[in-house]
């Protein structure tokens, strides 16, 4: 089954006529995703990569019965695009756009909760279930189908790890990048719960980084509720306090959010910790 996506997921690309939107729509089609529509206000009636473009989410949903969307709309207009998707009844919305003001993210995430939509991101690479569907921007070539779930706050670091898994002959059920911003729509804990319930996932790789307490909360959940093994890597052991390390959320502030605190919590909860990303496949081979 995998989590969140299925082979029946019907996807709208919001911002399909932009450079990234067009390119990624093509890559998603290559992956096997059912990309059923694109939306760019004012560009209705066009086709991009054979996909019909609509002026509004409402039009696109009523014509195609889409249930997921991926947002490439620039930061200044992203909030409006996400609210429009929620309003049109979209169940899963992956927000790829980076540098969205925190207040905007906070508001569309709260609105999604009220209306029952799931937001993934923002500032994330999306989600992919090899062999089924991808609503994201991860390179297609790194994946192979299998039974390891991957959840991460990072982008390219996730590609690196997924690629290493594939090279080691370890396939993935679903890989999800939850985003590098301080406020995000889907947390580690929510994804861990889904993986724990998913009968196609045997074990989970968690890729965290400095900043906030999401990994500590994940550790509590792992200790209390996870029966499946969890393998974790935390980036930023050598990061100095008070400096924002690339991601808006990657900052050690007021003595909180250090890599050591996360590693300690996860270790205590029974997760196996990799000291370098490449170690993850070896740990899984040893355990499973």
């Amino acid at each position: 089954m995998s989590i969140i996506l299925s082979s029946e997921t019907r996807v709208i690309v919001q911002g399909i006529t932009g450079h990234q939107g067009t390119h990624q729509a093509g890559a998603m089609l290559d992956f096997g995703t059912k990309v059923v529509a694109g939306v760019t206000p004012g560009k209705g009636g066009e086709r991009v990569k054979g996909v019909p473009v609509f002026n509004s989410m409402r039009d696109a949903v009523s014509s195609t019965s889409a249930n997921a969307s991926i947002v490439f709309v620039p930061a200044r207009f992203a909030m409006d695009a996400v609210l429009e998707a929620i309003d049109a009844g979209i169940e899963t919305i992956a927000v790829i756009t980076e540098k969205i003001p925190i207040r905007d993210s906070m508001e569309f995430i709260q609105y999604a909760r009220i209306k029952g939509s799931r937001i993934i991101g923002p500032n994330c690479p999306g989600i992919a279930s090899p062999g089924l569907s991808k609503v994201g921007i991860m390179p297609n070539a790194i994946f192979s189908r299998g039974r390891v779930g991957v959840v991460s706050r990072s982008g390219t670091l996730t590609y690196e790890i997924v690629n290493a898994l594939t090279e080691a002959g370890i396939g993935q059920s679903t890989c999800i990048g939850i985003g590098g911003d301080p406020v995000i729509g889907t947390s580690f804990v929510e994804v861990l719960r889904l993986f724990e319930e998913d009968k196609d996932t045997d074990s989970v790789v968690l890729v965290g980084e400095i900043g906030g307490t999401a990994e500590e909360e994940a550790a509590r959940f792992i200790g209390d509720h996870m029966s499946k093994p969890v393998f974790a890597y935390i980036a930023g052991r050598t990061a100095p306090p008070g400096k924002r390390m690339g991601h808006a959320g990657a900052i050690i502030a007021r003595n909180m959010g250090t890599a050591q605190s996360k590693i300690d919590s996860l270790t205590e909860a029974g997760a196996r910790i990799a000291s370098v990303p490449q170690e993850i496949p070896r740990l899984i081979e040893k355990e499973c």
Binding site: E160, G246, H247
Partner: protein, 367 residues
Amino acid sequence: MKLQEHRAKRLLESYGIAVPEGYLIRNEGEVLPVTDPVVLKAQVLSGGRGKAGGVRLASSLEEARNAAKDIFGLTISGYRPKEILVETEVDIDREIYLSIVIDRSAGLPLLLLSTEGGVEIETVPEEKIGRWHIHPFVGVKDFMVRGMIERLGLEGRSKKEFDRMVRALWILFYEMDCELAEINPLVLAEEGEIVAADAKVTVNDDALWRHPELSDAEEELTQLETEAREKDIAFVQLEGDIGVIANGAGLTMATLDNLSLHGGRGGVFLDLGGTDDPKKVEDALELMLKASPKVILLNIFGGMTRCDSVASGVLAVKKRLGISVPLVTRIRGTNEKLGRDMLSEAGVIALGSLDEACRKASEIGGS
């Protein structure tokens, strides 16, 4: 973006929150005649200002001038104060702590209130801090303010003033896209007046386009940090001697961590963002050369771009500017063999394994 204290206070004032009377000086000659005692405060963004001698009291013009002269001569966490805020000293009856921050776990603003003001909130015992989440669709409501007033035990005029100011602070926090709006201490002066004696305001960088009025606010960035920002590159100066360039924040951090396992120390964190665009690689290399590290480690995990075009970018910089320091590259992705061969032929160390690249860079950096 952290705002300087005087800037933060002007902002508070514009939302109707009382601040001490004061003015800004750029040299000691600008100190005005002193009637009531004044406090002189260095305008720097880093913490530890008080400990460094950046806050001084004075009760005469001469004292104030001398204090100003001393403060302008200080270096506080690497920065020399360019401005001093001269304020009339406030008569303190009680000090309170009040702030609104973003609670990342809840994804909501959180108001923190403590009867122990004037000290760092981290040192205040948990049970002495009152917490209220503020939902952006709901705002600050009467029942919350009643709870706060009860906690503080306010009466009469101060009760009314607090009610007004706490709502104003929330509006400011919301409208100004704040990550932090902290008043510490919030002073209960005589006759029930409430004054923000110090203020820290951090505005969300990603929302600055909504606030053109802050475009002239001064930030304490180095020349290279300013240049990196213009090129949309995440750049952090560290203490070691190995310059690390990678694509993606997580990958860059992971590279630095991996270096440390081999005894290497990162000197620069340079994140291209989640791109492997050859043009961006060129920009980054150029910027990195200006930081003059002992060795550069370039780690690219290719997504869409081909490794040979990243290699061409590296070689272009090498040809145009010359790269005088050793360059260790680790490039993975489409056409990786071709990319590595191109680099090797030009004398660049080109590897496929991250661990090996980190070991190599650490060896060179440590020698």
